[in-house]
């Protein structure tokens, strides 16, 4: 077969980039079974940290000094500020007698865990293969990372759809944005810094609004579940 001769073994750089991208995807899967709100936010922070690391790796390997700044900013914002904002806004939510941040959101899935994971694997595989079929080439990162980033986005959709609590849905949206950041690292690493900063700032505003609306919801429904949100239909 010609395959053996054409496919070169990946170098250190593309190998580590792929490992990080896969790590992001695995963390996304981890969010499916997280039972506590605080840990859910932590998983998100870890995922964001991985993406910042990837930005540093790319910056070092490809000599793009802008990306160092971007990595630093996205670390500060996504790993520190957004989780802190979310945790502060969500402090004290949940049933009485539980400590802050220990709000139980287990069992809010509309499918069983195994089914959800199977569904997510199917969706992720679809994302990987359909992007591979398009044949986009990146000057900066291996194409595998692009496929994986699209898989992350699709799995984030599964997360938002199957979990029935407002916190997981919000985290699902933020990790969707992480997937998009990963994509932009692969295909748009040279994007001007000012735009990236604007995107990050926008994310911060969105985080505050999501937090406020979660509070409003909790204030009215006295829970984080969306099972009650059925009055508007038709």
């Amino acid at each position: 077969m010609a395959l053996a001769t054409t496919v070169a073994p990946p170098g250190v750089f593309s190998g580590s980039a792929n490992v990080i991208a896969v790590g992001v995807l695995l963390l996304e899967f981890g969010m499916f079974r997280q039972a506590l709100l605080r840990d859910q936010v932590r998983l998100y922070a870890a995922q964001s940290a991985l993406i910042s690391v990837l930005a540093v790796v790319v910056a070092a390997a490809r000599h793009l000094p802008d990306l160092y700044v971007l990595a630093g900013l996205s670390f500060a914002l996504k790993v520190v500020i957004v989780p802190v904002v979310l945790r502060r806004l969500l402090r004290g939510l949940g049933a009485r007698g539980e400590g802050p941040g220990w709000t139980d959101i287990a069992g809010s899935g509309s499918l069983s865990l195994a089914n959800t994971v199977l569904l997510a694997i199917g969706v992720a595989a679809f994302g990987v293969f359909s992007i591979a079929a398009l044949g986009l080439r990146s000057p900066v990162l291996p194409g595998t990372a692009l496929s994986i980033s699209v898989a992350v986005i699709l799995v984030a959709f599964v997360l938002m759809i199957t979990r029935r609590d407002v916190a997981s849905q919000a985290i699902g949206f933020f990790s969707l944005e992480n997937g998009v950041s990963l994509t932009s690292l692969v295909v748009a690493a040279g994007m001007p810094l000012i735009l990236e900063i604007a995107f990050l700032f926008d994310l911060l505003v969105a985080a505050v609004v999501f937090g406020l609306l979660i509070r409003v919801h909790h204030g009215r429904a006295d829970s984080l579940s969306t099972a009650e949100l059925t009055s508007l239909r038709g």
């Binding site: 959709f157 407002v166 919000a170 926008d202 999501f210 949100l229 038709g234």
Partner: protein, 517 residues
């Protein structure tokens, strides 16, 4: 151009601190000033493209959408004075409302002025988060639910739109180098040579992403909830201006895609979404129980018409589409504002409880009827002209089947609307307690409705709260009538004889859209 962007921001800041009356005054003045500025800008854009340091850019296409937003901003600002002037509002509520209204209008005015596709995305995202807070402002169970669904679905959709932005960057970077900033004027220069796969991907993602906010079929589900639960002035802005702004974003991608891929592909994509939205919304218009939900489905229907119109591609259909954007803004604004008066008068949004509107509301009743007739594309109004042009374009470009579907859908939708509105306005009330006519307050109210005396005097119809059956005749506030009259006049002008400047503007925008420069 800069003034358009700075004025609403300044108004926002003022509204954070200023006292109650000043807030309303500042907003009304800002709204009217913005309308004037936008009109001046549109007059200039009819002849040449305007640019400011490569960041801001206005051509005829953006001017059309700016006109729609600017008009609604002014109308809604005036209307809100009457809307908030009725007790029930606390200082906190009114501060949030006015601040939110100004910043929401600012973001919607900013979006069409942005030269960069990335900044356009940011402006649209800002409109999402601000309007979600405005939807939640009512602090009821329904509002909380609607706001949550809205922010989640729209944000997820905009996530896809961001992906589209990034793929558009990728496509452009192949030709323009890594450091270009997604400037629309730059990307159009090389659009003919862009690689196909990423542009296709970007266009489909953009239609899906921005289409979520525009209310296209499979992803429209947030729309009726948000429109029905938001305060009425916000509903009018959401429906008339926000949906149009998102349509503007799609049109920008359409321009890029049709010069990169040829017109076939983007038109087919829009056709599928448009037909699905039109048919679904037309069917949903029957059997609605909530007046604002009904109007929301009418918005979905009209957005479907817009998408179909673009998919025809003939110049006259495109001119019809752009005229439709303007006419729909005026008509839907009027309908929501009229509905707001009805809701206020009857104290409920349930259609079943509203009867005899024409007897009770001497001004708003007939105006609401006119707005609905306009929405249903009855002849003397703007929407008739625009839909006529779209259909004509459809037959002209041999999309006969689609044009036929369009006509059927529009007719079905009209019957749905007309049947319901007939019941609200014309079927007489049959209450056990029919209060004797209240001539004095009615006369006073009618006099003020003429605009002779500014509102602010104690409302004679306040005693309406006595019982649900006793709804005396009279308008709640002249502030809530004047903008609707203005809207009806605009509709009439658009329908009977659009001014020459406007047709020039539209013709230029059509040339931009169809790629002939």
């Amino acid at each position: 151009m800069l003034l358009i962007l700075t004025l609403p921001l300044a108004a926002t800041v003022v509204c954070c601190w200023a006292p109650e009356r000043a807030r309303a005054l500042v907003t009304v003045v800002t709204g009217l000033a913005c309308l004037g500025l936008v009109a001046a800008l549109a007059a200039a854009a009819a002849h040449r493209d305007l640019a400011y340091h490569g960041i801001l850019r206005a051509d005829a296409l953006s001017a059309v959408f700016l006109l729609a937003t600017g008009f609604l901003y002014a109308a809604v600002a005036v209307y809100s004075v009457g809307y908030l002037g009725h007790g029930r509002t606390s200082t906190r509520y009114s501060r949030r409302f006015w601040t939110g209204l100004n910043i929401f209008a600012w973001a919607m005015l900013a979006a069409p002025l942005m030269n960069s596709l990335a900044l356009l995305w940011i402006a649209v995202e800002v409109t999402t988060v601000i309007s979600a807070l405005l939807v939640a402002i009512e602090d009821t169970d329904g509002a909380a639910e609607a706001a949550w669904k809205y922010v989640l679905i729209a944000s997820a959709g905009l996530g896809l739109a961001l992906l589209a932005t990034i793929f558009a960057y990728y496509a452009g970077a192949q030709l323009l180098g890594q450091h270009y900033d997604l400037a629309f004027s730059q990307i159009m220069l090389v659009a003919g040579r862009l690689p196909h796969a990423p542009v296709q991907l970007a266009f489909v993602l953009a239609v899906l992403g921005y289409g979520t906010k525009m209310g296209l079929f499979p992803v429209h589900t947030w729309l009726p909830d948000a429109h029905s639960e938001a305060p009425t002035p916000v509903s009018a802005l959401l429906s008339g201006a926000l949906l149009a702004t998102c349509f503007y974003a799609i049109l920008r991608y359409y321009q890029v895609a049709s010069s990169a891929l040829g017109p076939r592909f983007p038109r087919d994509v829009l056709l599928v979404f448009g037909v699905a939205s039109l048919l679904l919304a037309a069917l949903y218009l029957f059997g609605q129980r909530d007046i604002k939900r009904m109007l929301a489905y009418s918005s979905v229907e009209h957005m479907g018409i817009l998408a179909i119109g673009v998919s025809f591609g003939a110049p006259i259909a495109l001119a019809g589409v752009l005229l439709h954007v303007l006419a729909h803004a005026a008509a839907k604004g009027n309908a929501f504002m009229g509905a707001g008066v009805l809701v206020h008068k009857f104290g409920t949004k349930r259609l079943a409880a509203m009867r005899g509107g024409l007897d009770v509301l001497p001004w708003s009743g007939p105006l609401f009827l006119l707005a609905i007739l306009a929405l249903g594309a009855m002849p003397p109004f703007g929407i008739f002209r625009s839909e006529f042009e779209i259909v004509e374009g459809g037959f002209g470009s041999s999309s006969t089947v689609t044009a036929a579907i369009l006509i059927i859908g529009v007719t079905v939708a009209f019957f749905g609307l007309a049947a319901t509105v007939n019941q609200i306005l014309l079927v007489p009330r049959t209450p056990p307690v029919r209060p004797p006519a209240v001539p004095a307050p009615a006369l006073a109210a009618a006099a003020r409705a003429d605009g002779a005396v500014p509102a602010g005097t104690p409302e004679p119809a306040r005693n309406a709260a006595a019982g649900p059956a006793a709804v005396p005749r009279g308008e709640p506030s002249a502030w809530m009538v004047v903008p609707v009259v203005a809207g009806a006049l605009v509709l009439l002008v658009l329908g009977v004889h659009p001014p020459a400047d406007l047709t020039g503007l539209l013709a230029r925008a059509v040339r931009e859209l169809s790629g002939v420069r």
